[in-house]
C-alpha cells in the first residue's frame, strides 16, 4: 500500500471532521447566536421559547378538579367535561390539545395537575389510539412550551432514548463539539426568509405568515375517509421493546407519587361499514401487553374496540365522532366506568 495514498485518505477524513469546527468560530463572531438551552437539550436546538402557561395553571388550581381528561382530539371529540361532571357528580375538566403527542399529555399531568397544588384531584383519564402511549411522535419545537417548565429531565431522557436510540450520548457530544445547534438558530430563519424577501421584499414576514395560516391551514388539508392516523408498524407494536424507553413508566410513577388514579381508554379507530376496524395480530398482542402492564401497576384500562354502540354512523371524519356521537359517548362513559369515579 502506498503511503502517499494512505495519507491522502487520512487527510480527507480529517478534513471532514475538522472543517465543521469552523461553526464554533462563526457562532462566536455573530451577535445573538448565543440562545438559551431548551428544556429538551437532547433533542431540540437552543431557541427562544413561549412561557409556561401559568394563567391556565392558576385557573385549574381555582377550579380544584377531581378528575381530568387528557388527550388529543380523540379525547376532545368523545368527552364533554360538563356533561361528565353532571353525570358523575364530580368536578371534571378536559385538557385537550389537537394533534398532541404523549409527551404533551405527560407534561399536562405533571405541571398542570400533579405539581399544581391540587388538593382535590383523584384521577386522570388518558384517551389514546393504538400504540400512541409508547410511540414518541415527533415533537415539533415549541409545541410543548406552554406546558413545560424550565427543566424537564425525565421527558428529555425519554425523548432522547427514543429519538436517538442508544447513541444519544454521541449526538450530545457532537452537539457540544461542533455547536451546530447554535448555528442553526440564526441560519435557518435567514435561509427560509431569503425567498420571501425576493417574492415580497416589502413585507416578507407577512408572506410567510399568510402561507402558514391561509395556504397550509388545517382547514385546507385533505379530509381522510379512513382513519386519520397512520397504521402502526409491526415494529412499533413490540410493547416490551418500547415500553421502557417511553413515557408510560414515568406517567405511572408520577401518578403513584401524587396519589392520582389513572385510567387509560383506548379509542376505537374508524369502523368499516361491516363493523369494527380490522386489527392485526401484532396490534391485538400489543393491546393485551399494554393492558397487563398498566393493570399490574394499579391503573384502570378499557378498550373501546368492537363497541357495538360505536358504529360508523357515529363518526364524522377520520376517527372523530359526530356531535351527537360525543353526547352519547359521554353519557355511556359515565355509566360504564362509574366505579372509576367513586
Amino acid at each position: 500500500m502506498k503511503s502517499g495514498q494512505v495519507l491522502s485518505l487520512v487527510l480527507v477524513l480529517a478534513g471532514t471532521l475538522v472543517v465543521p469546527l469552523g461553526l464554533r468560530a462563526v457562532n462566536s463572531a455573530l451577535p445573538g447566536a448565543d440562545v438559551r438551552e431548551s428544556y429538551l437539550p437532547s433533542v431540540e436546538t437552543p431557541r427562544p421559547r413561549e412561557p409556561f402557561d401559568q394563567p391556565a395553571a392558576d385557573v385549574i388550581r381555582e377550579v380544584q378538579p377531581e378528575f381530568v381528561v387528557i388527550g388529543d382530539s380523540m379525547a376532545g371529540i368523545r368527552i364533554d367535561p360538563l356533561q361528565l361532571t353532571r353525570a358523575t357528580r364530580t368536578r371534571v375538566i378536559g385538557l385537550y390539545q389537537q394533534g398532541s403527542p404523549v409527551a404533551y399529555w405527560y407534561l399536562v399531568l405533571k405541571n398542570l395537575i400533579a405539581e399544581n397544588d391540587l388538593k382535590s384531584i383523584r384521577g386522570a383519564i388518558f384517551f389514546f389510539r393504538d400504540d400512541q402511549l409508547t410511540t414518541q411522535v415527533q415533537v415539533t419545537p415549541g409545541s410543548l412550551d406552554r406546558v413545560a417548565r424550565e427543566r424537564e429531565p425525565e421527558l428529555d431522557r425519554a425523548l432522547a432514548a427514543d429519538k436517538l436510540g442508544a447513541f444519544s450520548e454521541v449526538h450530545r457530544a457532537a452537539r457540544s463539539v461542533y455547536q451546530f445547534d447554535r448555528t442553526r438558530v440564526w441560519f435557518e430563519p435567514l435561509f427560509n426568509r431569503w425567498p420571501a424577501e425576493v417574492v415580497q421584499p416589502e413585507r416578507p414576514s407577512e408572506l410567510i405568515s399568510a402561507m402558514n395560516n391561509d395556504v397550509f391551514g388545517l382547514d385546507k388539508l385533505r379530509k381522510f375517509e379512513g382513519s386519520d392516523l397512520a397504521a402502526s408498524t409491526t415494529e412499533s407494536l413490540n410493547f416490551a421493546r418500547h415500553v421502557n424507553d417511553s413515557l408510560l413508566p414515568e406517567i405511572l410513577r408520577l401518578a403513584e407519587r401524587s396519589h392520582i388514579r389513572l385510567a387509560f381508554i383506548r379509542v376505537q379507530r374508524r369502523p368499516t361499514p361491516e363493523g369494527p376496524p380490522p386489527q392485526s395480530d401484532a396490534l391485538k398482542k400489543y393491546v393485551e401487553d399494554l393492558k397487563a402492564y398498566v393493570s399490574a401497576r394499579g391503573a384502570y384500562f378499557h378498550d373501546d374496540w368492537g363497541d357495538p354502540d360505536e358504529p360508523l354512523s357515529a363518526y364524522a371524519d377520520g376517527d372523530h365522532l359526530t356531535a351527537e356521537g360525543r353526547r352519547h359517548y359521554t353519557g355511556r362513559f359515565a355509566e360504564k366506568h362509574a366505579r372509576f369515579f367513586q
Binding site: M1, V19, P195
Partner: protein
C-alpha cells in the same frame, strides 16, 4: 438499518476492521453475516424471505446445469427449473406487494357488475427492497438459463451476491455477470479508491439529509392540500422531482461508496437525468440498473426494436407499464409507466430540433408531469390537479408558489451546480471512484478534504428536522 444512522456506522466500522484481516473466503462469510444483520435489524423475519429467494435460485441454477457442473446449458429440465425460480420470486413479490392490490381491484370490478366478492385483503407490511433483490436474484437464474453465466457451486458466494448489504434495499440492481465475479475473486484495499468513495458517501449523505429531506417536507405539505393553487401545486411537483432524484441517487452514491471500501464496484445508477434532452436520453440516465434490467429481460425478449413500428410501440408500452407496476401496487404507477412509454413511442417517430437547453427544459417539464402522476396516488385528485389553471390562481397562491420554488432551488443549488459542471466535463463526484489514480494529486486531495468538511458542516446545520425514509425503500 438505514445508512444515515449510527447503528449502520458501527456495523460498517466493525466489519471493515475485521474484513481486511481475513482471507478471501472468510471475507465473503463476513459480508453475508453483516448483510443479514443489516437486513434483519428492524424486522428479524425479513432475512427469511431473502434466504428463501437465494436458496431457490441457487438450487434452480444448479439443476439447470446438472449437479456439480459449472458449464452452462447442459442440464435437463432447464426450463422447468427456470420456472421454479421465476414463480418463487414473482410469487413472493406478488404475495407481499400486489396481493391486496389485486384483491381490491377484483372486488371493485365485481361490485361494478353486481357481484359481491369477499374482501380478504392481508395488509401485510412490505419487506424493504424485495423488488430489488428478487430481480437481482432472478437475473442470475435467467443468465444461467441463457448460458450467459455458469451455475455456481458455492452457496456462500451466491448468498453474498444476493444479499450484499450496501445495495440490498434500493439498488443499484447488479447482474450476476458483473457482481458475482467480484464476489469470487480476491480483493485488495485501495486507499485512493477509498478516499474517493468517502467523498461520494459524504455527497450522498448531503443529498439525502440536506436536499431530499428538506424539499420532501415541502412536497408532502403541498400534496396534503385539498385544492392546491396552480402555482403551489407545481412548486410541490418541482420539490418532489428534486426529492426523488436526490433521495434515490443519494442511496446509490452511498451504496457505491460503501461497496468500494469492501473492494467492490457497483454500477452507476444515475447520470444527471434532469439534463436529458429527450425521453430516450432520460432513461439512459435515470435508474440505469432497472432500465437495463427491463430492457434485457422484458423488452428484448418481447422482440425489442427488431420488428415493425407497431410492434415496437407495443413492446415499449408493455415494458414501461410493467416497470411502472414494479414501483408499487397502485394504478398511478402504472399510469406513470404508460406515460413514459407513450413519450418514448411519440419521440421515436418525431425528430425534435432545437437548442440543447430548450430540449433539456422541455424534457424536465415533461418529467415533472410524470412525477405528478407518480406522486399523486388518488386518481380523482390527479384529475383535479390536471384541471387546475393558472388563470384561477390567487395572488397569495402565486406568491406562495414562487416562494416554494425559490426555496427548492436554494436547497438544490449544489445538486444543479454539480450536475451541470459534470455534464461539461468538470469534476464529477459520482464518476471519480471509477478513475484509478497512480499517485495522489494533492490539490485534488485538499479540495476533497475541504469539500467533505463543508458538506459535513452543512449536514449538521441544515439537516431536516423531519427524517424521511428513502423513497425507494417502499418499492
Amino acid at each position: 438499518m438505514i445508512f444515515h444512522s449510527l447503528e449502520f456506522f458501527v456495523l460498517f466500522a466493525i466489519t471493515l476492521a475485521v474484513y481486511w484481516r481475513l482471507p478471501h473466503r472468510a471475507q465473503n462469510v463476513l459480508l453475508l453475516v453483516a448483510s443479514y444483520v443489516f437486513y434483519g435489524w428492524v424486522h428479524p423475519w425479513w432475512p427469511v424471505l431473502l434466504f428463501a429467494t437465494t436458496f431457490v435460485d441457487y438450487w434452480s441454477a444448479r439443476n439447470m446445469s446438472g449437479t456439480g457442473n459449472r458449464e452452462p446449458g447442459t442440464g435437463s429440465n432447464r426450463k422447468a427449473w427456470l420456472w421454479v425460480s421465476i414463480i418463487t420470486n414473482f410469487g413472493l413479490l406478488g404475495f407481499y406487494k400486489y396481493f391486496d392490490f389485486f384483491i381490491d381491484n377484483v372486488a371493485t370490478a365485481g361490485a361494478a357488475i353486481g357481484w359481491n366478492i369477499p374482501h380478504v385483503a392481508l395488509r401485510l407490511a412490505l419487506p424493504a427492497g424485495i423488488s430489488f433483490y428478487t430481480f437481482q436474484s432472478m437475473s442470475y437464474t435467467i443468465d444461467v438459463y441463457r448460458g450467459h453465466a455458469p451455475a455456481r457451486t458455492r452457496f456462500i458466494d451466491i448468498a453474498a451476491f444476493v444479499s450484499f448489504f450496501p445495495h440490498l434495499v434500493a439498488g443499484p440492481i447488479m447482474r450476476a455477470t458483473n457482481l458475482l465475479p467480484q464476489v469470487e475473486r480476491a480483493r485488495t484495499f485501495d486507499p485512493a479508491a477509498a478516499r474517493d468513495a468517502g467523498v461520494l458517501i459524504v455527497w450522498g449523505l448531503f443529498k439525502k439529509l440536506v436536499i431530499a429531506d428538506n424539499v420532501g417536507v415541502i412536497a408532502n405539505k403541498v400534496f396534503a392540500l385539498q385544492q392546491p393553487d396552480f402555482y403551489v401545486l407545481w412548486a410541490g411537483v418541482f420539490a418532489f422531482a428534486i426529492q426523488i432524484y436526490s433521495d434515490f441517487s443519494a442511496y446509490t452514491d452511498i451504496a457505491r461508496g460503501v461497496a468500494k471500501w469492501y473492494g467492490f464496484d457497483l454500477i452507476k445508477n444515475f447520470q444527471r437525468p434532469y439534463l436529458a434532452t429527450g425521453p430516450a436520453d432520460f432513461w439512459h440516465r435515470w435508474n440505469i440498473s432497472l432500465s437495463t434490467w427491463f430492457r434485457d429481460y422484458v423488452y428484448i425478449p418481447l422482440g425489442g426494436s427488431r420488428s415493425g413500428p407497431g410492434r415496437v410501440a407495443a413492446n415499449l408500452m408493455i415494458t414501461f407499464l410493467a416497470s411502472g407496476l414494479w414501483h408499487g401496487a397502485s394504478w398511478n404507477y402504472v399510469l406513470w409507466g404508460g406515460y413514459h412509454g407513450l413519450l418514448l413511442v411519440i419521440t421515436r417517430s418525431i425528430r425534435l430540433k432545437g437548442f440543447r437547453v430548450a430540449k433539456i427544459l422541455t424534457m424536465f417539464m415533461l418529467t415533472c408531469v410524470g412525477w405528478l402522476i407518480f406522486r399523486e396516488t388518488d386518481l380523482s385528485q390527479l384529475i383535479a390537479d390536471f384541471k387546475l389553471s393558472p388563470m384561477d390562481s390567487t395572488p397569495l397562491g402565486r406568491s406562495t408558489g414562487l416562494y416554494l420554488f425559490l426555496l427548492v432551488v436554494l436547497y438544490s443549488l449544489p445538486l444543479w451546480i454539480h450536475d451541470v459542471w459534470a455534464e461539461f466535463h468538470g469534476p464529477d463526484l459520482v464518476k471519480a471512484i471509477e478513475i484509478r489514480e497512480p499517485a495522489p494529486a494533492w490539490n485534488r486531495v485538499f479540495a476533497q478534504a475541504a469539500l467533505c468538511g463543508v458538506m459535513f458542516a452543512a449536514i449538521l446545520v441544515m439537516r431536516s428536522q423531519t427524517a424521511l425514509n428513502f423513497i425507494y425503500f417502499a418499492f
